[in-house]
């Protein structure tokens, strides 16, 4: 970092505790940002390339490997897209179990992000382990919470990372209700933890930073969105996954390392927990709503730093929802979850912990994939992260470099960018001056 009177450069060479690796470069002159680059160095792995020629039945297992932190999201978007092509609609209990699986991933992923990555930023610790020296109680509770989420994925999916039980059509093996007994108890306690954690986190200091974002999220009247809904925004957007590609485009930029998503060629969007909350507040349970109100959180919340609180609300909700689903679940008598391939194109979007995850596949009559397209939440948020950083360095220009750097890191973390989950981040050389 160097400082002179007029020009100031800030570099975050390594965004620690972002799942993946990246760097941000910004140059300020006369209170204006004259150059900024958010770089991600993630070697491309070409999932969309090698999906060609694979079978429709393999997508949940293959696309899970895009991201070890939210494999369930990839499994969900992929099976829904395939089932649309084949004209199959999962029956009620399968749909519910899928929602349960998603609850597990949301809890696990949000607990990891809030307690182990984001709260240490707010409190000025380098990591959760260092934080444990002063806040052991919270770190232990966080691990308890995280484990509750992982337990769901474990039972239903076989293991936490890259579950093996999801198939196009449903599940390979359906659990017996008795298998949920222990995790149900754990979840009830986890929900209490989430409740008190939300109250605690609300007392942290949130930078006064707001913007009139275009939030996008799935929405359906019946429930807080996970697997279903159309894509809507607070600025009037409303479309089905089928027409997603008519409106959202990805752009590869020479100066940048990632594909940036645009809405209608010019609009920048914001996806993730804060967007979900703002658009679907009414669909939360009464208890989750009143917890939100209690900690001063109302839609439309325009402060991205408050995503931290929204994640706690979502954990709280997901614990409650998971127990509800388990309580209603009975072992299915007859199961017809067989899906026969059919030639066609199918698209689906689901709500990954980090926001909208879009998949599109074309398969032939034998179910062999002709082409595939995957747009991860982090691609959707790429532009808005960079915009936020640009606004932030100007608003907090008076901070010294060290504090401003910390602020920037914290702001990137608002989006919980899971860099691995972008299927097409590019390799770059880092410019160092």
């Amino acid at each position: 970092m160097k400082n002179n009177e007029k020009t100031r450069e800030i570099k975050l060479d390594y965004l620690a505790r972002v799942e993946g690796e990246g760097s941000f470069y910004v140059k300020i002159k006369d209170h204006e940002v004259i150059e900024s680059k958010l770089k991600i160095f993630e070697p491309p792995r070409f999932f969309e390339g090698f999906l060609q020629g694979r079978s429709y039945s393999e997508v949940p297992d293959i696309t899970a490997r895009i991201c070890g932190i939210c494999p369930v999201a990839y499994q969900m978007s992929s099976v829904h897209a395939m089932e649309k092509i084949c004209g199959y609609k999962a029956v009620g209990f399968i749909d519910k179990l899928r929602r349960l699986l998603y609850c597990g991933e949301w809890i696990e992923s949000h607990a990891l992000h809030t307690f182990m990555l984001h709260v240490p930023d707010f409190l000025g610790y380098p990591d959760a382990i260092a934080m444990a020296k002063d806040h052991k109680d919270w770190v232990e509770k966080a691990l308890y919470l995280k484990k509750a989420g992982n337990d769901i994925v474990n039972i239903l999916g076989g293991r936490e990372i890259h579950p093996i039980n999801v198939k196009v059509g449903g599940f390979y093996r359906y659990p017996y209700p008795a298998e949920f007994k222990e995790v149900k108890e754990r979840l009830q306690k986890a929900q209490e933890i989430a409740h008190s954690a939300a109250q605690w986190m609300a007392t942290l200091e949130f930078p006064g930073f707001e913007f009139d974002y275009e939030f996008i999220a799935l929405h359906n009247e019946g429930e807080y969105p996970m697997n279903h809904g159309h894509i809507v925004s607070n600025k009037g957007l409303s479309l089905e996954a089928e027409t997603y590609e008519d409106h959202f485009s990805e752009e590869q930029q020479p100066y940048s390392t990632t594909l940036h998503t645009w809405l209608d060629g010019e609009r920048t969007v914001f996806t993730g927990p804060l967007a979900r909350f703002n658009i679907n507040f009414e669909q939360l349970s009464e208890t989750a709503k009143s917890l939100a109100r209690e900690i001063g959180l109302y839609p439309v919340c325009k402060n991205p730093f408050k995503s931290l609180l929204v994640r706690m609300i979502e954990i709280f909700y997901a614990c409650e929802e998971a127990v509800r689903i388990m309580d209603q679940y009975v072992f299915p008598g007859e199961i017809d979850d067989h899906v026969k391939p059919k030639a066609g194109v199918g698209r689906a979007a689901t709500e990954a912990p980090r926001g909208i995850l879009f998949h599109r596949y074309e398969i032939n009559e034998r179910g062999i994939i002709q082409n595939a397209r995957i747009v991860a939440p982090t691609s959707h948020n790429q532009r808005i992260i960079e915009d936020d950083l640009r606004r932030l360095v100007i608003q907090f220009e008076d901070l010294n470099d060290e504090l401003l750097t910390e602020r920037c890191e914290q702001a990137v973390r608002n989006y919980d960018p899971c860099i691995s989950c972008s299927t097409h981040f590019l390799k770059v050389n880092i410019e160092r001056e």
């Binding site: 390594y14 076989g158 990372i161």
Partner: protein, 257 residues
């Protein structure tokens, strides 16, 4: 006694294997008390300079830059342990090794000229000396804890090297190949998952990679004669360990037929 310094490195991967460390919810704080986490960007901002006593390496080598970076990691590490299918065999991204990588680039990117990548995805051991390999996509976190605690105490880790098939027998799973007529790579796949897939009524698709001296030929012959077509056979060997020598070799027999 001075705590041993641990570093965790990422190459081309999904982050799942290193996440296994943070998934050790019950053991994490105890582990952190025994070891100094000196470099682990996914979990901490702290960066403590090398050399490191133990380096865990996740991911495969897919770029020229990474091919150099791994040499640095090796130089800086007393003990280098590669974790997961990506690091031990090139991972699912090694499917590029069977095509011209430009085909993939064109399928994914509008401006291929900006993409800088190698023709192949290769295991860490293809580049540097590796002291221990832990398999799986993802690794089993309990095996990781066993490996770490063994090396911390100067012991040899006790990780079974038999097959998934044997794990099934030990667990009393009925054989899915026989009872459900499913294709299963259990007989040729290294143990470690506890025969998870058969327990969930599906065949093993080899995510732990080949066991030592696997008889892939006999298994493939049996499966293609009784259970699956050649294309399915090919795809089964070409998953997360597609570039492991024995799976790669056997898969080639089913390429054109």
């Amino acid at each position: 006694m001075k705590k041993k310094k641990l570093a965790v490195w990422k190459f081309a991967s999904c982050d799942g294997c290193q996440l296994s460390i943070l998934d050790c919810e019950d053991e994490l704080l105890t582990l952190a008390a025994q070891i100094e986490i000196a470099y682990f960007p996914e979990a901490t901002k702290t960066v403590i300079e090398g050399p490191y006593d133990i380096s865990l390496v996740e991911g495969s080598i897919t770029t020229a830059h990474d091919a150099i970076r791994i040499l640095e990691v090796r130089k800086n590490s007393k003990l280098l342990i590669s974790i997961g299918a990506c690091a031990t065999s090139g991972g699912i991204q090694a499917l590029r090794n069977y095509v011209k990588v430009s085909e993939y680039i064109n399928a994914v990117y509008a401006r291929p000229e900006y993409i800088d990548t190698l023709e192949t995805s290769t295991a860490i051991a293809d580049h540097v000396k590796v002291d221990y390999e832990l398999r799986g996509c993802p690794i089993n976190k309990y095996q990781l804890l066993e490996v770490l605690s063994s090396f911390l105490h100067g012991k040899k880790p006790s990780i079974p090297d038999h097959s998934v098939c044997l794990e099934c027998k030990l667990n009393g799973n009925p054989c899915v190949a026989v009872s459900r007529n499913l294709p299963c790579l259990g007989p040729v796949t290294q143990a470690g998952c506890g025969a998870l897939c058969p327990h969930y009524h599906r065949g093993c698709f080899g995510c732990y990679g080949p066991k030592e001296n696997p008889n892939t030929e006999a298994l493939a012959l049996y499966l293609t004669q009784n259970v699956v077509d050649n294309h399915t056979m090919l795809r089964l060997f070409r998953n997360f360990n597609a570039a492991s020598p024995s799976f790669s070799k056997e898969s080639k027999n089913y390429e054109k037929q």
